[in-house]
């Protein structure tokens, strides 16, 4: 009952004595110079968690300020807070979140490899990430940036009074970290699959990260060039984007969104991968329409490059450009819809249990569906002319990025926690956190759709009195959400020391990563496994090992 019949493999002992956490030493040095993909994944997880709380603290202050207009902060401080929130959450949490933690840890395990193709590049990628993160924090501490995460010109290049160039340098550096990760994943997936692990036997998680990597490698250089041009205009007064210097401000938006729209898919595709692992496991059924799910990921990563100007329907693009980009945006909604239908169909005639990872996954499907459907609203030309730059857009992308991606991140964290740490977490606490996050999230962001349609603009430190009631709902929801996000920090931390031993495969899951001890040994498999079957060979009966 494994994906992958691992030839000649004896039953694992309950506790693996030699594993990646103990082998090779436990000194700080052994961690900071490690080339083991699993240890680098842990380094990433720790640093990403830190930045998640930094970005979350900014979000908390933003919601606090918006309870009682004109709020508690000066406009300059408020503008720095939302810029900090956006820059940190986009580049230092969402983009690296699933690929660099779970992707790093799991891709070699899932394809039956010993490590990623380029272990040193992998470590370099983490150092770039951390260096960039500290540069961003430094820019914040010495005075901050007030451009918003979008750095629109000519405001960012000539008018902003913040430390724009430092922030640009940080984003540039973290971009290289992304490129290295993407490159590593692509080569690993092509070259290092175990015998018998054909493309159509790859778990969807690997496919999703592969699609993500393609975007990282192709789109991120455009961001790098764009940021360098902004810095050149700001420092050297070279006229590129500012019309006063003979430049074109819309050129910046085209270049920026040519990266940043595909980047949205960098942020959500790995989430699709996590959900496609969890749902079959807890429904005890093969994933419905495996090939459709796989190819819709690839379709998204390709079409994702041709929808960027839908961010610019009121920016001054031509009427015809608007018509084309809106149509393409409707086209890209189709593969996302396909996935939702396939996950739902996977539940049909299943044997469904509701452990914490499944609760996160079901929450993900619900929130992502709302986020995706409101994407149809903002992709709609006339509708977007009314709501662009309002809280409707804010709510829409938070449903995708937070409701979707962060739920998937937590779902994956719980699902693979026993594999990574060898310990089980307290199930009921995890279920409570999943429910708190789901309800807190909806209470926070659903009112923002209404606020947006009413005309409440983004990036306002203060607003007219008729918007206050909905803002209070939103801020109340944010406090529930904050508790939901803080809870796992405590019970997962507790489980590291007191959690029950997990064993190799606590979920009776298929997939090669479950066929090796928890935590896995440094070289992942004692013997390279041979794969003989497609993934997700679950059957809707109680499994013998389903204790």
């Amino acid at each position: 009952m494994t994906t992958a019949t691992v030839t000649g493999k004896p039953e694992e002992p309950v506790v693996a004595t030699k594993n990646y956490l103990t082998e090779g030493g436990v000194t700080l040095r052994s961690w900071l110079l490690t080339r083991d993909h699993k240890r680098i994944a842990i380094l990433y997880t720790l640093s990403i968690t830190f930045f998640f709380f930094v970005g979350g603290a900014a979000a908390t202050l933003i919601r606090l300020n918006l309870v009682t207009p004109p709020g508690i902060f000066t406009p300059d401080i408020y503008n720095r807070l939302f810029t900090l929130h956006g820059v940190i959450m986009v580049w230092f949490f969402l983009i690296p979140s699933i690929p660099n933690t779970m992707g790093n840890f799991l891709i070699p395990l899932m394809i039956g490899a010993k490590d990623l193709a380029f272990p040193r590049l992998n470590l370099l990628s983490w150092y770039l990430y951390v260096g960039a993160g500290f540069l961003a924090l430094f820019a914040i501490l010495i005075g901050g940036v007030d451009t918003g995460w979008t750095f629109y010109t000519p405001f960012s290049s000539l008018y902003s009074n913040g430390y724009v160039v430092l922030a640009l340098a940080a984003v540039l550096a973290v971009g290289f970290s992304s490129i290295l990760t993407g490159l590593n994943f692509i080569v690993t997936t092509h070259r290092m699959r175990a015998p018998g692990m054909t493309w159509y036997r790859l778990p969807v998680f690997v496919w999703s990260n592969y699609a993500t990597s393609v975007i990282m490698v192709l789109a991120t250089p455009v961001l790098a060039i764009t940021l360098i041009l902004v810095a050149a205009e700001r420092l050297l007064k070279v006229g590129i984007f500012d019309p006063a210097l003979g430049g074109d401000p819309l050129l910046f938006q085209h270049l920026f969104w040519f990266y940043s729209h595909p980047a949205v898919y960098i942020m959500i595709l790995p989430g699709f991968g996590v959900i496609s692992e969890i749902v079959p496991c807890f429904a005890r059924k093969p994933l419905f329409g495996y090939k459709f799910v796989v190819w819709s990921s690839i379709a998204i990563s390709v079409i994702g490059f041709f929808v960027w100007a839908h961010h610019m329907f009121v920016a001054g693009i031509s009427l015809y450009a608007g018509l084309v980009f809106s149509l393409l945006s409707y086209v890209i909604a189709v593969p996302s819809a396909i996935k939702v239908f396939n996950w739902t169909a996977t539940l049909h005639k299943g044997w469904i249990s509701f452990d914490a990872p499944m609760l996160y996954a079901l929450g993900f499907i619900g929130l992502f569906t709302i986020g995706g459907l409101t994407g149809l609203f903002v992709a709609n030309l006339a509708f977007d002319v009314h709501v662009t730059d309002t809280y409707f857009v804010v709510a829409h992308f938070h449903y995708i990025m937070v409701g979707g991606m962060v739920s998937a991140y937590f779902g994956g964290l719980h699902y693979w926690w026993p594999k990574v740490t060898g310990r089980l977490y307290p199930e009921w606490w995890a279920r409570i956190a999943a429910l708190l996050i789901f309800f807190g999230f909806n209470l926070t962001f659903f009112p923002q759709f209404i606020l947006g349609y009413l005309g409440m603009e983004r990036r306002y430190y203060s607003y007219p009195p008729e918007f206050q009631a909905w803002n209070i709902f939103s801020s109340a929801g944010a406090s529930v959400l904050a508790v939901g996000y803080a809870l796992p920090f405590f019970y997962l931390g507790w489980s590291l020391f007191r959690g029950k031993r997990a064993g190799a495969n606590p979920w009776a899951a298929t997939g090669l990563e479950w066929q090796t001890p928890s935590p896995p040994p440094t070289h992942n498999f004692d013997r390279t496994p041979t794969v003989t079957r497609p993934p997700y060979q679950y059957r809707p009966e109680p499994e013998p090992q389903d204790v």
Binding site: G289, S326, A337, I338, P465, P540
Partner: protein, 319 residues
């Protein structure tokens, strides 16, 4: 603290159309949402672990189902697309009888100039039932002129003219916002749109100190910036005549033909070498950085006012 409002005031013909589009989008979404959530909840209850329902006969080949739901979804999406695109084309096609009002955004105020020369800041007075076309630009960074009660907005981009038109249908006062982040006081860059009876509006216009009209001011600037030295009727320099120019096609040196619109006039003042009229030596200096947005608008308004004149009738000496 206000009550729980659900819809903004609706004060233009377009606003009503938009609310119908909103209703359609909500309808389609609600249908898909209920379908997905309904099935999810149904499956989760019916096929929960341990329940004793029949689980045999599972769907083997999936592609028929896949093609069906992909096709149906895309068909529904296309309907929504065309609906929205149709409205979008309409809000980009101002009627020919619309009154032009000029709007300049700058950190952090909206400067508005009526064709009669009346000026206001952060307040826009308009008559009910008459189409109005705003010509928007910015003096510094990108701003965005947003009127939720009319369900429209448009970025004001430095170095460009963008337009936005509407026909107000309800008398009243509506909020005006800047919707593109523009710096420290972005949230305070807004004001009021006042929709009035046409007679009240006329009274309001008359009560304002009109000053010279935009075109009249432009005429004065036309001399003071030295434009008349070459483009004036008495000039000996071989420069294009501006009478009867606006709105007509202009053949260019490189073989293209452009329409002499706001954009062309503005670009020709700031970047005269970009689009050289055929048959004229490229001798005009650039005025980039020397003429502010306010003055540019006036110069363009003056050149527009010459649209109905012929070169002969303007052969008089400049005032």
């Amino acid at each position: 603290m206000g009550s729980l409002q659900l819809l903004p005031p609706s004060a233009s013909a377009h606003a009503a159309d938009m609310d119908w589009l909103f209703a359609a989008l909500l309808g389609v979404s609600a249908f898909i949402l209920l379908l997905v959530f309904g099935l999810m909840i149904l499956f989760c209850i019916r096929y929960r672990k341990g329940s004793k329902v029949e689980r045999g006969n599972r769907l083997g080949r999936t592609w028929r189902v896949e093609v069906a739901w992909t096709g149906l979804t895309f068909a529904a999406f296309l309907v929504l697309y065309f609906w929205g695109a149709n409205l979008y084309v309409r809000i980009h096609s101002p009627p020919s009888d619309a009154t032009d009002i000029y709007v300049v955004g700058k950190q952090w105020m909206w400067k508005i100039e009526h064709p009669g020369g009346q000026r206001e800041i952060d307040t826009l007075h308009v008559p009910v039932g008459r189409p109005v076309r705003l010509v928007l630009t910015s003096q510094d960074v990108i701003h965005d002129f947003a009127i939720p009660a009319f369900r429209i907005r448009q970025d004001a981009v430095p170095g460009r003219y963008e337009t936005l038109w509407f026909t107000p249908t309800e008398i009243g006062e509506y909020r005006l916002f800047c919707a593109e982040f523009c710096g420290t006081w972005h949230a305070r860059m807004g004001g009021t749109v006042v929709v009035m009876e046409p007679s009240d509006f006329q009274r309001w216009l008359d009560s304002q100190d009109p000053g010279p009209s935009l075109a009249q001011e432009g005429e004065a600037l036309f001399s003071s910036y030295g434009c008349s030295g070459c483009h004036g009727g008495a000039s000996t320099v071989h420069a294009p005549k501006l009478e009867g120019l606006f709105g007509r096609p202009v053949p260019l040196e490189d073989g293209r033909t452009v329409i002499a619109d706001d954009r062309y006039l503005r670009d020709s003042i700031l970047m005269p070498k970009a689009e050289i009229a055929a048959g004229y030596p490229p001798v005009m200096p650039s005025f980039a950085g020397q003429i502010g947005e306010d003055d540019l608008l006036k110069l363009v308004a003056y050149i527009k006012s010459l649209a109905d004149k012929t070169a002969d009738s303007a052969e008089r000496p400049a005032p």
